[in-house]
Amino acid sequence: MTRDLHSIVLNVNGDEVTVRVEARQTLAGMLRDQLGLTGTNLGCEHGVCGACTVLLGGRTARSCTLLAVQANGRSVTTVEGLAADGDPLHPVQQAFADHHALQCGFCTPGFLLTTIEYLDEEPEADPDSIRERLSANLCRCTGYHNIVAAVKDLLERRTGR
């Protein structure tokens, strides 16, 4: 087995970083083990549960089934990039807190980033589409009720409905 290292340059949460990675290193593995960004959680490593969701070039991506080298030259946003320590929470984070949209918190980073993409792509979305859109991510604690409520609140605040 080869353990050759590849040098990649990418923008993570606004900072340009250079990382040397094995070809088989996943994006999630690099973020967690090499950059110490452990807010990106691994739930299934099959690209199903969505806990490891990050934004890659502004679009959601499953960091467990992407290789780190595939992110070379791209920008990555993880949950740590949503609000700096000491700063107020990002509006999506705040809505999740206001609506008790998290319990154990393990799936939460993925839901936050999925929600951010959704609101970004469809600022005028029909609230009826929330559940379909959120079905990309799995949560075992909340029954989704309060996550849906948080996203609905965000949408309504945007559209003034």
């Binding site: 960004l37 959680n41 199903v48 999740f96 998290l102 319990q103 393990f106 075992r140």
Partner: protein, 775 residues
């Protein structure tokens, strides 16, 4: 400041939302090694040889442990999780056979996924690469997969010292069921099957063993619900005193079912052996194959009643598929039995339960643990009886609910803890009336027929359940004021999403006169508290809540005593506000907690709560569904929960628990099934095959609290974490049957997958066509 009962925001959220939680995989230890479990690919086989030489020679491999290497330790788990009293054993005709679960398999494997070797390497990838090089020579044997075959005469044995593959059994008789059944005018009966499901927290399991140093004992960090109990098991396994061990739980990404697992023991053994931290992290395939399998019963049941609709007797025979080892003894089938009569007055009752071994993964209690199964069976029987009598199920329910005036009601049997099973509190008829009204049940019933005609069939189903919560034997908490004046709350019960740091701090804060979010909380670490229970069986709000309250009351007394000396004032004339003690009406004069804490004597109170027995939570659910007759897909269109969990500590948190429980129940009702083939191979090994409910599968859920506080603890709290799982399957199954009522199908099996439902619809349609042709 009033805090208990308020929907105060969670203190946990900031860290979790910012990605600053420390789950198992986030913990880092210097010089840590990574372990991987080499597992049996067969359900049943002899192990002829294990050759680890190639693996040992691979890059980065430090050790490969097999059963032969487990020297100086107990080779198997042999102590069952719960003990039973002699009186209980005699009263309910309990048979308990031996329990033995090897830590690493020796000579034979009894299930797919059984740990055979523990490979330790410098990092995870090296371990994974090398695991493939461990050569295990197996001689496969025919597995025993079907529990009914397992108990048939002449069956092979899963383990040699469990004859007939029946590891445990019981028989409960209340009243005179034989005569009551004979005398009853009408009966309905059926064979019900509840599919095997998997707890499936989004975080998989993990454990780290850290060798003892001069100041710290051998330590295990584990994503466990039961740190203190795990420590006891570790001490037995390692043959050392419990004081030589520390067990701690980090942040946990859900859990939904407790237990003791080989990997938690192996990391400790390996760390001690190698003198370095050893970490094991489970992947999802391992989790779905090995952790928290549950449900999986075949239940024959009969309800006897009169033409007036009055229930007379219930009979049940439960065959519990336990998998290859039965750590939890009678727990699951006995939970079914003790909750089988639900909210109804049924005086005559006969239940047998068999715990049957098969070559599958060990079965454990998962959220609900017997209540969803019991409730589903009873809900179905009641609806079948309503159809038989030609009356609405809601009416039939009303006629048979235990009236509030009969509370407390002795159920004529013992609970698992050995105490008489008594329904201590609740008002079931009010609960049903409230649910029917909130759902607009009668209005929807009237409109149901108008909506018919399309390919979608609309149905409504009702379910009601009880849940014995707050299981003992004990819980411990300490509340203290440290040198800086900070109130520190330490409790044996640890959270995995349940909001202990908020709700228990509300209890302590209200008692002590300080805001809950100024209290520091610590949970789940045997290094901080000598004794502790854990989090299971909807017990934490009850047992931890009560003990935190007890300790806080005592600390308050000490605070007031000390302050009365300093302020020269009678304690009865003192009040506490925001961490300052003042004479009533004289806010200008005060002494702070910090000043009191520097006074010399430690301001600390520790308490243990031993509940007299369980306390009864209950709930009524109504679901409406739209069933696609062509595809068999069931869509939930409405859902109402009326719940009684006694005193509500924080309604926002309790609602969240209810939402999650309902979703879990929806999964059990419609989607989730761990499927084994005839060779004992698990076919549902990933989240692509094992379907958890998504946001699109769950409807909006309306929750109404109708609390009836229990007299069994000072707060009046009853458990709320699991009950809502119990009613979803019955409510949904009844709604589906109702939707398809022209076809007169019966749903006796969970989950109600589209495939199963289409088969039922086609068979019923064929029968109707035949019937017409016959006319």
């Amino acid at each position: 400041m009033k805090q208990v009962g308020e929907a105060l925001p969670r203190r946990e959220d900031g860290r979790l939302l910012r990605g600053r939680a420390r789950y198992m995989a986030d913990l880092a230890f210097d010089d840590s090694l990574d372990a991987i479990v080499v597992r049996s690919p067969f359900a049943r086989a002899r192990i002829l040889s294990i050759d680890a030489s190639a693996a040992l020679a691979a890059d980065g491999v430090v050790a490969v442990l097999t059963a032969d290497d487990l020297v100086g330790v107990e080779p198997a788990l042999t102590r069952q999780f719960y003990s039973l009293t002699p009186a209980f054993i005699e009263r309910h005709q309990v048979f308990l056979g031996p329990y033995r679960e090897p830590v690493l398999a020796r000579d034979r494997v009894s299930r797919m996924g059984e740990p055979v070797a523990f490979l330790i390497a410098t990092d995870r990838r090296a371990a994974e690469d090398a695991a493939e090089l461990v050569e295990v020579d197996y001689e496969p044997l025919d597995p025993i997969v079907d529990p009914l075959r397992a108990i048939a005469p002449g069956s092979d044995l899963v383990v040699s010292d469990v004859p007939g593959n029946i590891q445990a059994s019981f028989h409960i008789i209340v009243g005179d069921p034989t005569s009551a059944v004979e005398a009853a005018e009408r009966k309905v009966s059926g064979r019900f099957r509840i599919g095997r499901s998997v707890g499936s927290p989004i975080e998989t399991r993990g454990a780290v063993g850290i060798p003892a140093t001069g100041s710290e004992p051998l330590t295990v960090w584990s994503s466990t619900q039961i740190p203190h109990i795990l420590r006891a098991y570790l001490a037995e396994f390692l043959r050392c005193p419990e004081e030589d061990l520390r067990v701690a739980a980090p942040d946990m990404g859900g859990s939904f079912g407790g237990g003791i697992y080989a990997e938690e023991l192996l990391v400790a053994f390996a760390a001690r052996l190698l003198g370095q931290p050893v970490r094991w992290l489970e992947d999802r395939r391992e989790n779905l194959a090995n952790a928290r399998h549950s449900r999986d019963q075949i239940i024959d049941a009969l309800l006897a009643y009169d033409t007036s609709g009055s229930f007379r007797a219930l009979e049940m025979h439960i065959v519990q598929d336990c998998g290859s080892a039965n750590l939890f003894g009678l727990t699951l089938p006995f939970n079914i039995a003790s909750h089988a009569r639900g909210q109804f007055a049924i005086d005559h009752f006969d239940v047998t339960g068999l715990c049957v071994l098969t070559n599958k993964t060990r079965n454990t209690p998962v959220r609900g643990a017997g209540r969803p199964e019991a409730t589903f069976v009873l809900d179905r029987l009641v609806d079948m009886a309503a159809t038989d009598l030609g009356i609405d199920p809601a009416d039939l329910r009303h006629r048979n609910l235990i009236p509030a005036r009969e509370m407390p009601r002795d159920m004529g049997m013992l609970y698992r803890d050995g105490a008489p099973m008594v329904y201590d509190s609740g008002d079931f008829p009010d609960q049903l009336r409230t649910a029917l009204e909130a759902f607009d049940y009668w209005g929807k019933r009237r409109r149901q027929d108008e909506a018919a005609g399309s390919n979608l069939a609309l149905g409504i189903g009702v379910s009601s359940h009880v849940e014995a919560t707050g299981l003992g034997p004990h819980e411990t908490a300490r509340v203290e004021i440290d040198d800086s004046g900070t109130v520190v709350l330490t409790c044996g019960s640890n959270p995995h999403g349940q909001s202990h740091a908020t709700t228990l701090a509300q209890v302590a804060g209200e008692t002590l006169g300080i805001r809950y979010d100024r209290i520091e909380t610590r949970f789940g670490d045997t290094g901080l508290l000598e004794r502790g229970g854990g989090t299971f069986g909807s017990r934490s709000a009850v047992t931890a809540g009560a003990v935190v309250h007890g300790a806080s009351v005592e600390l308050r007394r000490r605070i007031l005593d000390l302050a009365s000396e300093m302020l020269e004032c009678d304690p009865a004339d003192l009040i506490i506000r925001d961490g300052y003690v003042s004479p009533r009406g004289v806010p200008g004069i005060s002494v702070s907690f910090a000043e009191l804490a520097t006074g010399g004597a430690p301001l600390r109170a520790e308490d243990e709560f031993v509940p007299p027995t369980v306390t009864l939570g209950s709930g009524t659910h109504i679901a409406s569904v739209a069933v696609d007759r062509e595809t068999g897909v069931v869509n939930l269109t409405g859902y109402v929960v009326v719940d009684d969990c006694g005193t509500v500590l924080n309604p926002m948190v309790v609602d969240g628990q209810q939402h999650g429980g309902v979703a879990h129940g929806i999964g059990n009702a419609l989607l989730e099934e761990a499927v084994y083939d005839e060779g004992g191979q698990l076919l549902s090994g990933t989240f692509i095959d094992y379907l958890l409910p998504t946001a699109a599968d769950v409807p909006d859920i309306e929750i109404i609290h109708r609390p009836h506080p229990t007299p069994l603890n000072t707060l009046g709290v009853k458990g709320a974490g699991e009950g809502s799982t119990a009613s979803a399957p019955g409510a949904i199954a009844n709604a589906v049957v109702d939707a398809l009522r022209p076809l007169r199908i019966e749903i006796n099996e969970l989950p109600i997958t589209p495939q199963r439902l289409v088969e039922l619809i086609r068979a019923a349609e064929a029968e109707q066509v035949e019937g017409l042709a016959g006319n």
